[in-house]
């Protein structure tokens, strides 16, 4: 409508080829199984008959007179001596045979069930030529489809009174009526008897299809272009699998005809007939269940028609829905914290293989000539030169000099990739748009693709062997588009929840925590060392003060402030915040030692740490604010700089963790054991009360359920207490705790499970009950409902588990693994279907969502017309922020009350993220994948 005339598909018709059509479209009848004569020429009326098309260059087609690549190839046909059933239609044939009379061929309908006049009218009337007018929608014509179940019980034909016999399908291609086997010929005769007027109710359009065509009497032979023979180096010809199969068909067909005509015994004819059926069946589908696949001499199963189309490697999925592409590269990825998030490091080998076409102009002739002169082997050189007449010339060391001299305006030169070229970078599975982003090339030594760690989250990449793909863009438009729309920095804010998906992770967060926590001091050398990570154009700020010996020092907060934009102001509670009842705010440092209240005023970090809540992927508030208020350029610079500073700090100060980080004093161990022992006793008491029937039943629950709930509660509390006890001895001087509290990696729960107690193992959300009769393991007494017998693990990971505990832990762990495996495959399939349904939708310039035919799906995108990645927690405008900017008054964010919309998402995000990471990593080692 908007773009002028468009053609619309009005209908698609499916029909069978009739034997007459097969013969009519055939260029020749094929009668001999021999392909070539002794001189190597194709035999007339053989499978390689020259009338079937040309495959050899230089020759012309005998049918259409065209050359290779111009002639589309032409079908031939084989006249089958006896009819044969088409495997693809056995189900349909079974349905028809069951629904119609064995004698007269009419529909087996009890008179009462024959569709009433109105229904018949609907189906017999030709589709009304719908007057295409405004607001006219064509409703599908209801097709009355006969269900064989309705007719299966009919014993006597209501039309001719003939008795009916039950028909069964003997897989794959033979029908049985009672004890008698129906030959294809008989099947065909029966199908022939079905009158036209009974076909429509059966869902068949008699104008284009006759059911007896499902039994083949003529077999189309595909053109040679579909099954080309290959000539090996030895000079031998090797034929396509399809040709092999057709040879089999021809051979048996021939023998069958001879035997039949010679009046051979019925048995022999039947055997040959069945053999012909086998060959035709496997010609269509060599994986038909119930029959052995036809094999090559070497034992390899033949790839016949269905195998060419089916499955992941079939024509549809690997040649039509997806294709191999040129100008792409794939290799293992590894990290490089010093690259910008916009960059990608590529190996020299890749840079010299992938090329970009450059048009020679008067302005670049000299430069391009230089590149051509270097040839394909000296970087940065040229692999191909395309002349204005379209001829591609491969550049070699020999012709480089020559080509370089003949180069003129109008030539196109395919030069190697160089730094700053725009390429697309992709990691599968490509689940969201951030799975393919545009990067700037940086050519590097070594053989991996290098990327900044901050872009790992959107790609969901890690470096345990992951590989990624890279595509060199081939046109100026593509490069411009990619640079504007697909560059990494344009994707810092996620369209899913409006927060950053690119940001600091792991050591970045540890490092920036170490840099900014409390009063870190650095001497001149150290300060310069840190600043050197972010470039040399920066002046060292004035020292914060002098230490006792009179040496000047700089604080970590001061150094961190150098990368914060000058006029940025923000206040929030950091990840380390303990969630005190009354927040000490700026005094947090003095009162709790956590330094968890972060205040940045005009680009100066006044107090608090910068941790996950500040710069982390998914959570970073500073990041969020910078990108939102100042745009992706500043956002990218900030991420690059703050992460480099963090890496510098962690290098300078050193950071390590080990199992000794979970050491707790014997005193604490005793207390924990005490708590666990008490809990165990408590459970014991409750079980005792339950056994004596003294347990107070909870409303809405049975006594058993009440016991379970209470026991779970007691044990849960015990685990928490053990965790807290352990946690008391794990302070911020502990590396593992730093990582957990700053949000870098791991959680306090992980630590308390290592140091204190692992806790209750659950299967299907309940304590473990399954196993032997009345008990979970033979180590326990029957009907023992105590803590230990139902999967409570009181040991810690560090102390190690007792055998029974280990077993229970495996049960719980397995459930988790199975769960994720099932969930990922299911959600993957769901996502694929969703994408297929929505892929053609786009937001148009007027804000409405439409599909490719212009139909309006939504009058305003998201009903509010707001791009979530430009919104502030779902709102178009951040009123609080504006008030703060204009009046200088902080509107205190009440996170609980406001619901903190994207907070919900981030919690959601990280939890799934964690699940995937921890569990995938564990599993992957087993399977050797990445």
């Amino acid at each position: 409508m908007i773009f002028g005339i468009r053609k619309r598909i009005k209908a698609i018709k499916f029909a069978f080829l009739s034997p007459n059509e097969v013969r009519a479209m055939s260029a020749t009848k094929i009668i001999t199984a021999d392909t070539y004569d002794d001189d190597g020429f194709p035999i007339e009326m053989g499978l390689m008959d020259p009338r079937l098309g040309v495959v050899e260059p230089g020759l012309r087609c005998k049918t259409c007179g065209r050359k290779v690549d111009e002639c589309p190839g032409h079908f031939g046909h084989i006249d089958l001596a006896m009819p044969v059933i088409h495997v693809g239609y056995v189900k349909e044939m079974k349905r028809l045979l069951k629904s119609t009379c064995r004698q007269c061929g009419r529909l087996l309908h009890k008179p009462i069930e024959i569709p009433d006049a109105e229904g018949l009218e609907d189906v017999t009337e030709a589709p009304p030529e719908a007057a295409a007018g405004e607001g006219d929608d064509e409703m599908a014509i209801p097709v009355f489809r006969e269900d064989e179940r309705d007719t299966a019980q009919v014993r006597v034909c209501p039309h001719c009174g003939a008795d009916q016999v039950k028909i069964t399908l003997d897989k794959p291609t033979s029908f049985r009526e009672g004890g008698h086997k129906l030959t294809p010929k008989e099947v065909r005769e029966r199908l022939e008897r079905i009158p036209e007027e009974d076909l429509r109710p059966l869902g068949i359009n008699p104008d284009v299809v006759r059911p007896e065509w499902m039994v083949l009497t003529a077999l189309p032979v595909p053109p040679v272009t579909v099954r080309p023979s290959i000539t090996l180096e030895s000079g031998d010809r090797s034929e396509d699998d399809l040709t092999h199969k057709l040879v089999d068909v021809l051979r048996i067909n021939q023998r069958l005809r001879e035997n039949r005509d010679a009046g051979a015994p019925q048995l022999i004819v039947e055997d040959l007939w069945e053999l012909l059926q086998y060959h035709v069946t496997t010609y269509f589908d060599n994986q038909t269940s119930g029959i052995p696949p036809a094999r090559h001499r070497s034992g390899r199963p033949l790839k016949t028609l269905a195998q060419r189309l089916k499955g992941k490697e079939g024509r549809f999925r690997s040649n039509l829905s997806g294709k191999r592409v040129n100008f792409s590269a794939r290799t293992v990825i590894s990290p490089d914290p010093l690259l910008s998030i916009n960059e990608v490091g590529i190996p020299m080998e890749v840079a010299m293989e992938l090329t970009i076409p450059i048009r020679v102009t008067p302005y670049n002739t000299e430069v391009v000539k230089g590149m051509v002169l270097r040839g394909p082997k000296n970087y940065p050189g040229v692999n191909y030169v395309i002349r204005p007449d379209g001829r591609r010339i491969k550049v070699t060391d020999k012709n480089a000099q020559n080509l370089s001299e003949t180069l003129e305006t109008g030539f196109i030169v395919e030069r190697h990739l160089v730094d700053q070229d725009i390429v697309l970078f992709n990691r599968q599975p490509s689940l969201h748009r951030m799975s393919i982003m545009a990067h700037e090339v940086k050519v590097m030594p070594q053989k991996t693709f290098r990327l900044n760690l901050s872009v790992c989250p959107p790609y969901n990449a890690d470096f345990d062997g992951d590989e990624m793909n890279l595509h060199a863009l081939q046109s100026e438009e593509a490069r411009a588009e990619a640079k504007i729309l697909m560059r990494v920095q344009e994707h810092i804010l996620s369209p899913r929840f409006g927060g950053p998906v690119i940001g600091a992770i792991h050591d970045h967060i540890t490092g920036s925590f170490m840099l900014t926590h409390r009063d870190q001091r650095f001497d001149r050398d150290e300060a310069l060392f840190l600043l050197s990570f972010i470039g040399t154009e920066r002046d060292l700020p004035r020292p914060a003060g002098k230490d006792q010996s009179g040496k000047p020092f700089w604080t970590g907060k001061q150094i961190a402030s150098t990368v914060i934009p000058r006029d940025l102001s923000i206040e929030y509670k950091a990840s380390v915040c303990a969630g005190c009842e009354v927040c000490a705010r700026e005094k947090c440092d003095e009162e709790t030692g956590y330094d968890a209240y972060t205040v940045i005023e005009n680009g100066v970090l006044k107090c608090g740490v910068i941790d996950e809540k500040g710069i982390g992927a998914f959570k970073g508030k500073i990041l969020d604010k910078i990108v939102r208020d100042r745009g992706p350029d500043e956002g990218r610079v900030f991420i690059d700089n703050i992460t480099k500073l963090s890496i510098g700090t962690i290098m300078l100060r050193g950071f390590t963790t080990g199992i000794s980080d979970e050491d707790i004093p014997p005193e604490a161990r005793r207390q924990i054991d005490d708590v666990l022992q008490k809990a165990r006793q408590d459970v014991e008491d409750r079980v005792e009360a339950f056994n004596q029937g003294l347990l107070q039943q909870m409303p809405g629950r049975s006594v058993e359920e009440t016991l379970e709930v209470e026991v779970m509660k007691v044990l849960g509390r015990a685990r928490d207490q053990a965790g807290n006890l352990a946690g008391k001895y794990l302070g911020l001087e502990n590396s593992a705790v730093i990582m957990a509290k700053s949000g870098a990696r791991g959680s306090m729960l992980n630590l308390s499970q290592m140091a204190g107690c692992i806790g209750q193992q659950a299967v299907r959300g309940e304590r473990i009950h399954r196993g032997y009769e009345g008990r979970t393991l033979p180590h326990f007494r029957r009907r023992d409902l105590g803590a230990d017998a139902s999967g409570f693990v009181s040991s810690s990971y560090k102390s190690g588990l007792r055998p029974t505990e280990f077993f229970f832990h495996c049960m719980g762990g397995r459930e988790g693994l199975v769960d994720t495996a099932v969930r990922t495959s299911r959600s993957g399939y769901m996502q694929r279907r969703l994408i297929n349904a929505l892929e053609d939708l786009k937001v148009t310039y007027d804000g409405s969502v439409r599909n490719t035919s212009g139909t309006i799906i939504q009058f305003a995108y998201g009903e509010d017309g707001i791009d979530p990645s430009r919104s502030v927690r779902g709102e178009a405008v951040d009123v609080d922020d504006i008030i703060r900017d204009v009046l200088g008054v902080e509107v205190l964010e009440d996170e609980e009350k406001a619901g903190f919309r994207y907070g919900e998402y981030e919690a959601d995000m990280t939890s799934t993220q964690d699940e995937f990471e921890t569990e995938d990593e564990g599993g992957d080692e087993d399977f050797g994948g990445d």
């Binding site: 405004e134 607001g135 006219d136 929608d137 007027d846 139909t855 009058f859 305003a860 009903e863 707001i866």
Partner: protein
């Protein structure tokens, strides 16, 4: 098929007054043209609503005239994101 809508009486359940049923309004000629002009589109690109839809029937009863196919109905509904969202549907048979 097209049953004649009964006039809404107190005894009959009224769809339109149910709280989960959004407000439907029948547009006149002029309003229709405005909508089509605003979205630069034609009626066949709009979402559809059946003439047999209870809301259309109810509108028909209220208007006292037959709502032919091709008429446009404006629907107001509550939206989680926008507060109020409206959509247009073209009547089809």
């Amino acid at each position: 098929m097209a049953e004649k809508a009964q006039p809404e009486s107190e005894t009959r359940f009224s769809v339109m007054s149910h709280q989960l049923v959004p407000t439907h309004i029948l547009l006149d000629q002029k309003e229709e043209q405005d909508v089509l002009a605003r979205y630069r589109t034609t009626k066949d690109a709009l979402p559809k609503i059946r003439r047999t839809d209870p809301c259309v029937q109810s509108l028909e009863a209220k208007a006292g005239e037959e709502i032919r196919r091709g008429r446009i109905i404006k629907i107001f509904r509550k939206s989680e994101t926008a507060g109020l969202y409206f959509t247009y549907r073209v009547v089809v048979d």
